[in-house]
């Protein structure tokens, strides 16, 4: 790929002038609308948010420079520390759900399976459903008095808590919904990864007398690791930014908020409910650093467990 590109570039360079020069103008012209939009709505806001994070909103509007005060305050703020803990706990729980998607994908990939389209629809439906609707529905299922979940738990002798108002359990309840919502998406990615594994590995293994289970652990899982890595990276990035489900499932004044307020939820409260722009910007910057650090860590660790061919 790279080689042909380089060769083509060399060929273009070798040809006499005129055309490449005109190409420049076309090139700049065609990317201009997008570049301008990205500059206004993405790049400039990044710079602006960084600036805001070092300022404080005045009572009569306007921002005053306060240096690192916001960041210092954040790390002594119980709500922020709680939000960090809740977000990380939620992310770990959702990551634990990833193997579930591998299992579903592996089952969907069984040769000669009938009704693949039907099953895929069942598992993918939550992905295309509006999170607002998802949140409301699950909140109902989690209801402490008449919800389905506590009813079923009651049938097996467990007295379920008031999920949406109990600070102990709320984040677990939300994480279950998070796993449920992303299972189909991840399964689709894993299914594509599975279909990319050459059949002859399995044939060779079968000749050597390896059974299905052994093949799964010795061939499928190792050769699937690039997909697993990709899924873990995007799942973590998305999980660290969870907002919708908390907003929909937990009441603003519920005691459960302490146990389920996530970083982005706190950002929303501070930035758009309380109007502490500077403080909210600092929260966003901490989130950025957290995401970059954890993603970099994953890339660093991948050498230990991801097999590239």
């Amino acid at each position: 790929m790279l080689l042909t590109e380089e060769r083509a570039a060399a060929k273009a360079a070798a040809r006499p002038g005129r055309r490449p020069r005109r190409d420049w103008l076309w090139g700049y012209g065609l990317i201009a609308p997008m570049a301008l939009g990205l500059a206004v709505f993405y790049l400039w806001p990044i710079v602006q948010t960084l600036y805001l994070s070092f300022t404080e909103s005045g009572v009569f509007g306007g921002q005053t420079w306060v240096g690192l005060d916001n960041f210092a305050a954040l790390f002594g703020d119980e709500e922020m520390l709680g939000a960090l803990r809740n977000t990380l706990l939620y992310s770990v729980l959702v990551l634990i759900g990833v193997p579930l998607a591998i299992v579903i994908a592996a089952l969907l990939n069984v040769p000669g399976l009938r009704g693949l389209g039907f099953f895929r629809t069942l598992y993918f439906l939550p992905v295309v459903t509006m999170p607002a609707a998802v949140g409301l529905t699950w909140r109902y299922l989690y209801n402490g008095d008449f919800g389905l979940i506590n009813y079923l738990l009651g049938e097996i002798g467990i007295d379920g808590p008031y999920w949406a108002s109990d600070p102990e359990f709320a984040i677990y309840a939300i994480a279950v919904v998070g796993i449920w919502s992303s299972l189909g998406y991840n399964a689709v990615l894993f299914l594509a990864g599975l279909q990319g594994i050459p059949k002859h590995y399995y044939e060779a293994a079968a000749i050597d007398g390896a059974g299905r289970t052994r093949q799964f652990f010795r061939i499928t899982l190792p050769l699937l690791t690039p997909t697993t890595f990709f899924v873990m990276v995007i799942t973590l990035i998305n999980a660290l930014q969870v907002f919708d489900l908390v907003y929909l499932m937990i009441d603003t004044k519920s005691p459960a908020m302490a146990g389920s307020r996530t970083i982005v939820y706190l950002f929303y409260e501070q930035g758009f409910v309380q109007n502490n722009r500077g403080y909210a910007a600092a929260i966003a910057v901490v989130l950025l650093v957290l995401i970059l650090a954890l993603t970099a860590l994953q890339f660093r660790l991948q050498r230990r467990w991801v097999h590239y061919e």
Partner: protein, 269 residues
């Protein structure tokens, strides 16, 4: 043979768990409030169709539906046009600074969306666009992801295509529109479907920028119901069904293309 049965059984039980919330939502949307709070919970509808009429009366759901359609169509059309233009230039044209500019585009992809919100809000405030559909459309039509995705598609097309067209005297814009664009249709379709899905459901930005119920999208409208009508689950769910149905129908119809698109982002991401 028995092993095959286990596969079907596991997939079916798992699938039932996956769709139980939908079935429940649909059933409760056709119950009375009292029925919806019965213990034990009973998934039996009593066909209260008026819940659907009632939700349109309690909130401007029709207006919000229209808002959502307008925003989704505009954002998707804008994304397809602007992303494909930029992607074509990055993939097929030579110009100084192409690499660094593209890296800048990619950098945007790495940054979580929350970092854009406060300044965007100020931009919208400055323009007097709070509580308007433009406020939802303008930032949405630009996207680094779409540019990146389509660039991958443009790059797979053979060099000879441009060369032949250039010999015939076509300029890059003509090559883009008449030759390249039809050939990257699968990419456009994938990006289009993903954009519809995201745009239709997005919550945080619509929630903060448009606070007037008349200007809300369905997502924000539903979310704003959660406090007021919390005990009236049948009405809430009637609204939820109306709000999620269009994308679910689109998915069922275009399933293959959407799945292919997602699988593609996995292989090239």
């Amino acid at each position: 043979m028995s092993r095959r049965w286990i596969v079907y059984a596991v997939l079916l039980v798992g699938g039932l768990i996956m769709i139980t919330p939908f079935v429940w939502q649909l059933v409760v949307s056709l119950q009375t409030v009292t029925e919806s709070m019965r213990v034990p919970p009973m998934p039996v509808p009593s066909w209260q169709w008026h819940n659907f009429a009632d939700v349109f009366r309690t909130v401007p759901l029709g207006r919000q539906f229209l808002n959502t359609v307008i925003v989704t169509v505009a954002v998707t059309a804008g994304q397809l046009l602007l992303c494909s233009l930029a992607a074509f230039a990055f993939a097929r044209l030579e110009f100084p600074g192409r690499g660094p500019i593209f890296m800048l585009f990619l950098a945007v992809l790495m940054v979580p969306g929350e970092l854009f919100l406060l300044p965007r809000y100020e931009i919208m405030q400055g323009l007097g666009w709070l509580n308007s559909l433009q406020a939802l459309i303008a930032p949405g039509v630009f996207g680094a992801f779409g540019t990146f995705l389509l660039r991958q598609f443009f790059k797979t097309l053979p060099r000879e295509l441009d060369e032949a067209a250039r010999l015939d005297g076509a300029n890059p814009l003509q090559i883009y529109w008449w030759i390249m664009l039809p050939l990257v249709r699968p990419g456009l379709l994938a990006l289009g479907l993903l954009t519809v899905m995201w745009s239709w459901s997005s919550l945080l930005w619509p929630l903060v920028v448009n606070t007037d119920p008349e200007m809300m999208t369905l997502s924000a409208g539903l979310a704003s119901l959660r406090g007021q009508y919390l005990t009236d689950y049948p009405i809430l769910f009637a609204g939820s069904v109306v709000a999620s149905l269009p994308v679910i129908v689109l998915f069922v119809v275009m399933q293959r293309q959407l799945i292919a698109g997602i699988a593609f982002t996995g292989s090239k991401g």
